[in-house]
């Protein structure tokens, strides 16, 4: 009996001291974004591969978001929308179900809409919720559908400059 107790105790001890960060949190001092380091293995390598070396080439053009890599401001804005839609996929979905919310307002802002029409975007996306979020929806299709819905709405189409 004593032995069994001992084994249980020892196991409990060992598991208690397992690295907490193994769960995937970037174990950075003072809490650096786990997005960079922890939650997605492999991401760090992509990041390193791109930053390693010089910036005499295209990389730095992207870094500063300038037009000297071609594309210019417009394509940058569209890229920013995509990135935003990807990183806020779930919270955008909740906002559209509610017909309003901060994430949705920020998306409206990225789409070049004025503050006054942001609520309108909420109405439009809420009433078309089922069309936007089909079972195969991903960040890119959601964004595309939202933008084309906005384009067919007179108010939004008028106000939003980056559809």
């Amino acid at each position: 009996m004593k032995k069994i107790f001992g084994i249980i105790t020892a196991t409990a001890l060992v598991s208690a001291f397992m690295p907490i960060s193994a769960a995937g949190y970037g174990a950075a001092g003072c809490g650096l974004g786990s997005l960079v380091l922890g939650s997605k293995p492999g991401f760090m390598q992509v990041f390193a591969a791109t930053t390693n070396g010089t910036f005499g080439s295209q990389t730095f053009g992207i870094t500063t978001g300038t037009s000297n890599c071609g594309g210019g401001m417009l394509s940058q804005a569209h890229t920013e929308q995509k990135v935003y839609a990807y990183n806020n996929f779930d919270s955008l979905k909740s906002d559209m179900a509610k017909g309003e919310g901060e994430r949705l307002n920020n998306l409206a802002s990225l789409m070049g809409c004025s503050s006054e029409v942001a609520p309108r975007l909420g109405n439009v996306t809420q009433s078309n919720f089922d069309t936007i979020y089909t079972s195969d929806a991903n960040a890119e299709t959601v964004l595309m559908r939202v933008k084309s819905l906005a384009a067919t709405d007179a108010t939004l189409n008028n106000s939003c400059s980056l559809l």
Binding site: T9, A16, C30, S39, A97, N106
Partner: protein, 649 residues
């Protein structure tokens, strides 16, 4: 691959994630014309005559600190930050080399940035002092200028992310900067910039992590992110409330901040978990922005993230208004607590049965219930939701959308009464005197960080204990020969209690980790017992807050304990431990804790130990508290009473 690429681009777009880097750190031989050369020599001479290299601002720009034995040494560790070979330890050489660098003509390697572009703030300040800009060769600094104009920064905030116990690096919270665009408003606040200073750990092994983190083994760097990534990470995934304090900086101060940030992008600092950490670096950055203030010298031994805000609040007029951004968990709890009892029951039922709220309820009530459950799921499955819960959530979303817009409770308007910045100071010095059996005892404790469960919870969570590197010594008067003995009593390497009461559909274990060394005097009843034991103890269990007395928490943990000491028969012993107790915030700053520990040793033949302890703590203000307590070891009838005084600093 696709999502990763997007993430990557997110950070690139936010520009400055990769600040400029160059491959060579010394200045190549100058090929500039002789007239430029004579100007340079002349200007360098004036600079030395004016002793610019000893001016406080130059020392701050180079992050130079006085050394104990005279001279200076920069805290920056990246070679690219210095133009002179001995730049790290010689502010004068660095100044000379910087001026020389500014005058360089076309000798710059294509992959390297010109010193004029790499050090915009050095250039600005030196030109104010020496007026030489019109003599400089024309250099294209479009990288820097584009970065600056596109960042379009109009104001700055300092953000405190509250304590997060599930990651050792975030135990004590985190501070970072938020740079706000000129055209920012409530509808694009998430598109602002987060600027983070943090270590880049090279290991996830907790032991190496701790050692390297404490000893400066990781490089710390500045990075810039879209603010929404920070909000996602802290508030959504980690359930940490964010406090955003606006900084009252004028245009000029803000400009210095942004310029210097660019300069720091090319370097790194050795990261020290306790002192040269995020909190400290942000203060040194602010010292460049606002040269009139002296902040970092206030920090001597240990700096904690909340100290950044505390120091700014207590010593400057830089802090403006505060905005509270509730975490996903806080948001859920606020909504839940705002509901009628009927609504709460519906939420709990729908979560456990994975069903929809009853049709008999009004549309408003149903909308409220839908949103509360959705917040619950977002809290519980922040990073990823799967299976049954995912299906249920999707159904809820679909049904919620059908109801149209509804006026529901808005958690973002909630402002907590107790601000983190107004809690007690973060280190403590404690004196206690008491009686162990019949011996008088006097005890001194120094705890660099941070609080025990019983400390006044104002501004902190009442359910957290976080102690690190606390040290206690005791004075005993020997009853036989009247001699005084000062002996080691206790070393708390780490002591954490994280209590998570089971409530409002949230079922989480409470847990504890204790590692340290302790004198065996209490256990043996012999006051002058020099023997110590090393211990490691950890475990988990449930805790409950009692409905009638909201501020009373009852807990019960099953733990495992391992002791090492040469005074044990085997040199070690092992025990399951039952820990049961309660903590009661009786009134505002007055708390009472009672705890019973029972250790039943296994394998070896050590006798079981029981400990019963009661403590009362009365917080007077941010700096002082009084305490009293009673400890009893029933199996060997040792008992101790004590009263003490805590000074937080």
């Amino acid at each position: 691959m696709y999502p990763r690429t997007l993430l990557l681009i997110a950070m690139f777009l936010w520009s400055g994630i990769i600040f400029p880097q160059a491959t060579e750190n010394s200045v190549p031989a100058s090929s500039s014309s002789s007239s430029e050369n004579s100007h340079l020599v002349q200007i360098q001479k004036i600079a030395i005559e004016k002793k610019l290299h000893l001016k406080q601002y130059w020392l701050r720009l180079g992050h130079y600190k006085k050394r104990w034995l005279g001279g200076y040494k920069s805290e920056a560790d990246g070679g690219l930050f210095f133009l002179a070979r001995e730049g790290k330890v010689d502010p004068q050489q660095e100044l000379i080399a910087t001026l020389q660098g500014f005058f360089l003509g076309d000798a710059i390697h294509p992959t390297e940035m010109h010193p004029q572009c790499r050090f915009p703030e050095r250039l600005r300040w030196l030109d104010v002092e020496l007026k030489f800009k019109h003599l400089l060769p024309e250099v294209d600094c479009s990288r820097f200028e584009n970065w600056k104009s596109e960042s379009n920064i109009g104001s700055a905030q300092i953000v405190f992310a509250s304590y997060y116990l599930n990651n050792p690096a975030s135990l004590f919270g985190h501070t970072f900067l938020k740079l706000v665009r000129r055209n920012s408003n409530v509808n694009n606040d998430l598109l602002n910039h987060g600027v983070n200073y943090a270590a880049n750990p090279t290991t996830l092994n907790p032991l190496f992590y701790a050692i390297l983190g404490l000893s400066g083994g990781f490089p710390g760097t500045y990075t810039m992110f879209p603010y929404y990534l920070k909000v996602n990470e802290y508030a959504d995934f980690e359930s940490r409330d964010l406090w955003e304090y606006s900084l009252k900086l004028n245009e000029e101060q803000l400009d210095r901040l942004v310029n210097h940030l660019w300069e720091l992008g090319s370097t790194h600092f050795d990261y020290f978990y306790f002192n040269e950490n995020c909190s400290y670096q942000i203060l040194t950055l602010l010292e460049v922005a606002v040269p009139e203030v002296d902040l970092s010298s206030r920090l001597i031994y240990v700096v904690q993230p909340i100290d950044t805000v505390k120091i700014l609040k207590e010593n400057t007029t830089l802090l403006g208004e505060v905005k509270f951004r509730p975490s996903q968990l806080t948001e859920y709890l606020l909504k839940y607590r705002n509901m009628s009892e009927l609504g709460q029951d519906e939420v709990s039922r729908a979560i456990s049965e994975k069903s929809l709220p009853a049709d008999s309820l009004s549309v408003e009530e149903r909308a409220e219930i839908f949103e509360t459950i959705l917040d619950f799921y977002d809290y519980k499955y922040g990073r990823e939701i799967k299976d049954e819960a995912k299906t249920h959530k999707n159904l809820l979303l679909k049904e919620r959308a059908k109801l149209g817009k509804m006026q529901t409770y808005n958690a973002s308007e909630f402002i907590p009464q107790e601000q983190a910045v107004d809690g007690h100071e973060t280190s403590q010095f404690r004196i206690r005197s008491g009686v162990l059996n019949s011996f008088p005892v006097f005890e001194l404790t120094w705890r660099p960080a941070m609080r025990e469960l019983i400390d006044d919870p104002f501004g902190y969570s009442p359910y957290l204990q976080m102690l690190m590197m606390g040290f206690t010594g005791r004075l005993y008067r020997d009853s036989d020969n009247e001699k005084l003995h000062f002996i080691f009593h206790d070393w708390e390497i780490i002591s954490i209690y994280s209590m998570a009461p089971v409530q409002e559909n949230i079922v989480q274990p409470s847990w504890s980790v204790q590692i340290g060394a302790q004198n065996l005097s209490l256990e043996t009843g012999k006051s002058i017992n020099g023997r110590t034991n090393m211990y490691a103890q950890a475990g988990l269990g449930p805790s409950f807050s009692i409905p009638v007395l909201k501020e009373l928490l009852v807990y019960s943990l099953i733990q495992a304990r391992f002791d090492i000491s040469d005074s044990f028969g085997y040199g070690w012993r092992l025990a399951p431990v039952l820990t049961t107790g309660m903590i009661w915030r009786i009134f505002a700053a007055i708390s009472l804790q009672s705890q019973f520990d029972y250790r039943h040793f296994v394998i070896t033949d050590d006798l079981p130990i029981a400990i019963f302890e009661n403590k009362l703590n009365i917080g007077f203000n941010k700096s002082f508290a009084g305490e009293a307590g009673y400890r009893w070891y029933p199996n060997n009838r040792n008992q101790e009473i004590f009263a003490g005084f805590k000074y937080y600093l």
